[in-house]
């Protein structure tokens, strides 16, 4: 289905699973960039791990021929997002300008409907006030809100970086260039497994890679129209 180009940008991520080594550099970078507190071991055991990116690990085969497969999962920035219509206060809303799902923290009243309706389980609820072990409280990113208790949060594709780059381009009176915006995860990925850009910019790296023969989307049959494209990994594609 050909997508109609509308106003703004269509921010898109490509995850090349052939290149992902499961190193979690993206997870660490995301925590640092987005003021995400680190959960304690106890909270993780209770299922309250609050990473905006999680690396799902799958074992394949029987010993001794065992292989590990990794699947980084973060907010899929759905075009038809299940989290949006269920929010009673419009805190989870669709940005027409950026074509992203945005969580407006100061609107959120913490019903958690959005998190329960998300098929990807990528929304995180703040059960307590955020805590940063010293000296981590001194490295908080001033461009990102520190979310208080009772607020739902999730991956934003580093909206603060998108906005900063757009504002800079606007001040300089030029269009935004491909590669100018890089979310923290993309910037930190050592194997270049994550590729980010505007799909509506024909010359962007992302637009040139779509469609790809290895391409698939997570739970595509649900009709959520994710903005994250995964490229299959595995032997059949090695060295491609």
């Amino acid at each position: 289905m050909a997508e109609e180009r509308q106003q703004g940008h269509k921010w898109t991520m490509i995850v090349d699973l052939d290149k992902c080594t499961g190193c979690q550099a993206c997870v660490v970078a995301c925590h640092a960039e987005n003021n995400v507190p680190s959960p304690s071991e106890d909270e993780i055991i209770r299922g309250r791990a609050n990473h905006w990116i999680r690396i799902e690990r799958y074992w394949e085969g029987e010993y001794p021929n065992v292989k590990a497969r990794f699947l980084p999962v973060f907010c899929q920035q759905c075009g038809n997002a299940p989290c949006e219509p269920v929010c009673p206060v419009y805190a989870s809303y669709h940005s027409v300008e950026e074509n992203l799902n945005v969580q407006v923290y100061n609107r959120c009243v913490g019903t958690r409907y959005c998190g329960n309706n998300c098929p990807y389980r990528v929304r995180i609820f703040n059960f307590w006030a955020p805590h940063f072990d010293p000296p981590l409280e001194q490295q908080l990113n001033p461009d990102v809100t520190v979310r208080g208790p009772g607020v739902m949060e999730k991956c934003t594709f580093c909206i603060q970086r998108i906005r900063r780059a757009r504002e800079q381009a606007n001040v300089e009176g030029r269009p935004l260039e491909d590669g100018e915006v890089q979310p923290a995860c993309v910037q930190s990925c050592p194997t270049d497994a994550l590729i980010f850009g505007d799909k509506w910019d024909e010359n962007s790296r992302v637009a040139k890679m779509i469609p790809h023969e290895r391409q698939f989307k997570l739970l595509e049959h649900l009709g959520t129209e994710p903005a994250v494209y995964y490229l299959k990994g595995g032997e059949t594609h090695v060295g491609e």
Partner: protein, 178 residues
């Protein structure tokens, strides 16, 4: 009232003290709030925007970041001393300034315009769009003490954003909230 009448003298006394205490607490809280909102009046130095503007100094001479990035910025003591090593050196306020300079301390200015922590404002975008400083900050050039003129709430921002050509883009939540 019948319930109150059934209370013993001691219980009534406790109730009375509690009511008076709660009232006193409320007054104290109110006093703190008022003190905080009027803190802008008590700057460490009696700096006058009016005097500087009358001498032909442009806003951007001191607030250098205003066209370059999100933050307009407050000038360093070094910037003040660039002129005040020679100008008005016998004024007591300028001698206070020289004190900061000699002790190598920054001046602990009190913030005048305050935004909530979940609002991200970019000065440079507004300067590039031709918004004058006065549209939000009022006639600072005529103020001896800088004071907030407009209540910079969401309604104030959106009133102006709604009038712009690209109002759909400026109406987006991500413009200010991240």
């Amino acid at each position: 009232m019948r319930r109150l009448a059934s209370l013993s003298l001691r219980q009534r006394l406790i109730l009375g003290v509690a009511v008076v205490g709660a009232g006193a607490l409320l007054v104290a809280l109110l006093a703190i709030v008022i003190a905080q909102t009027s803190a802008a009046d008590e700057q460490p130095l009696a700096f006058s925007h009016k005097t500087h503007a009358q001498n032909g100094i442009q806003c951007q001479f001191c607030h250098t970041g205003v066209a370059k990035g999100p933050v307009a910025g407050i000038p360093s003591v070094e910037k003040c001393m660039g002129c005040h090593t020679y100008i008005a050196t016998d004024s007591p306020e300028i001698q206070k300034l020289q004190g900061y300079w000699e002790r190598q301390e920054p001046i602990p200015w009190k913030r005048v315009n305050i935004q909530p922590s979940y609002v991200y404002f970019n000065h440079s975008s507004h300067v590039a769009a031709g918004v004058s400083c006065g549209s939000c900050h009022g006639a600072v050039a005529e103020m001896t003490v800088a004071k907030p003129v407009v209540e910079m709430n969401m309604g104030f921002c959106l009133d102006c954003h709604a009038e712009q050509e690209n109002k759909d883009a400026l109406w987006d939540c991500t413009v200010c909230h991240r």
